[in-house]
Symmetry: C2
Subunit: 228 residues, 2 copies
């Protein structure tokens, strides 16, 4: 039940890989504040490496939209905003909808069966550990991840699993939004998978869009609640 592997490189091989993972985690979880500026030298000192791997890692962070870089002026962590969240989820709806449609065509029967099994397993685990949100998050990630992989479209996979995933997670974490919606999400997952099993791409597409839209409004509500 471990966190699924979202990158091709199994474990940190090189220095910059380690850095990347550390900084991804730090930014996503807010250890490095949103909007703050990151000095290359400071990071180099902090992690006991040269500036070269730091630059490499920063370039990759920019790639997954966690930092913004201005030439000759350095990088700063992105700032979260309702508009940003909306833009991000607009894309997710479209892309994951497409992923479902393709998965309904491309996934092997064995892959679908595996995923069904995994889903039931998550559900039982969830029932035991009621309210323990981490497992929900892990299960949710796992489900979406497998469907995206099932689309067999390498560009789509790269966008969702490498370029957009961490920012989505950052929004969720920093808005304290890994919350309830558990049983409902499970039901929605099951319906989506059933549509895929029936090779009904259109329906799977529609259901996934609704699923993500629901998640979006859920976060938006949370966001408004904090500001009132």
């Amino acid at each position: 039940m471990s966190q699924p592997q979202l990158t091709n490189q199994p474990l940190a091989i090189t220095s910059s890989d380690r850095l990347l993972q550390e900084m991804q985690r730090a930014i996503v979880e807010g250890d490095i504040a949103a909007g703050s500026k990151m000095s290359e030298q400071e990071l180099a000192r902090r992690f006991n490496v040269s500036r070269a791997p730091v630059r490499e890692a920063l370039a990759r962070l920019e790639r997954c939209h966690l930092v913004e870089r201005i030439p000759n002026a350095g990088v700063r962590v992105v700032t979260l905003s309702p508009e940003g969240l909306l833009s991000l989820y607009q894309l997710r709806e479209e892309l994951e909808g497409l992923a479902c449609r393709l998965a309904a065509e491309q996934m092997a029967d064995s892959e679908i069966a595996e995923l069904q099994q995994l889903l039931e397993q998550h559900l039982s685990t969830q029932r035991v550990k009621e309210g323990e949100s981490y497992y929900q998050e892990a299960g949710d990630v796992d489900f979406h991840y497998r469907i995206i992989q099932g689309s067999k479209n390498p560009y789509l996979i790269n966008m969702l699993c490498n370029e957009l995933y961490y920012l989505v997670r950052m929004y969720r974490v920093q808005m304290g939004m890994i919350g309830p919606r558990v049983s409902r999400a499970f039901d929605e997952h099951r319906a989506i998978l059933q549509a895929i099993a029936n090779r009904d791409g259109e329906l799977a597409d529609l259901l996934m869009r609704r699923h993500i839209a629901a998640s979006k409004t859920n976060i938006e509500r949370q966001l408004l609640q904090e500001r009132k």
Copy 2:
């Protein structure tokens, strides 16, 4: 009527910017063969710079899917394939369709008017220089570019204008596909823009998907013709 500016940095400021542009052009136009391996040292010698900016440029080339990098083993130019083309255009259909839907909501009346004017201008230029494909290409790029910008969704803009654009262009160029389809494409452009002007996002979405699908089958036909 110059090539529209697809990147935020107006002109090459830093060394790696220059390198990036040179290599993008070289790869897209086939000066550096698809599938060939690129040595950092060799590139450094060839462009009279150190390896540092070369690495920077290569990282950005990877970002727009023009090269693939294997840790500790170097980078090689991507290879073109019918499957790759299909995957790419599947995404484009979806993303540019979304761009149209958003543009229908977000574009200012003035922006739409400008684009209409530009389109007519392209058409007249095209009629004069019948068959001169470059102008067609430039006009096409320009049209799509403006609509994408009109979506006002920064992630969508980045994906289409920075990450996918050059690969799309590589497929078109290396398959000798900047060809006819001129007047028809213009008509399709006009219909799409009209739908946007009418604030009919649904229709603009549909028309754009068809427009791209037509372009795709056009390239596929070309590809099959070459192999017969």
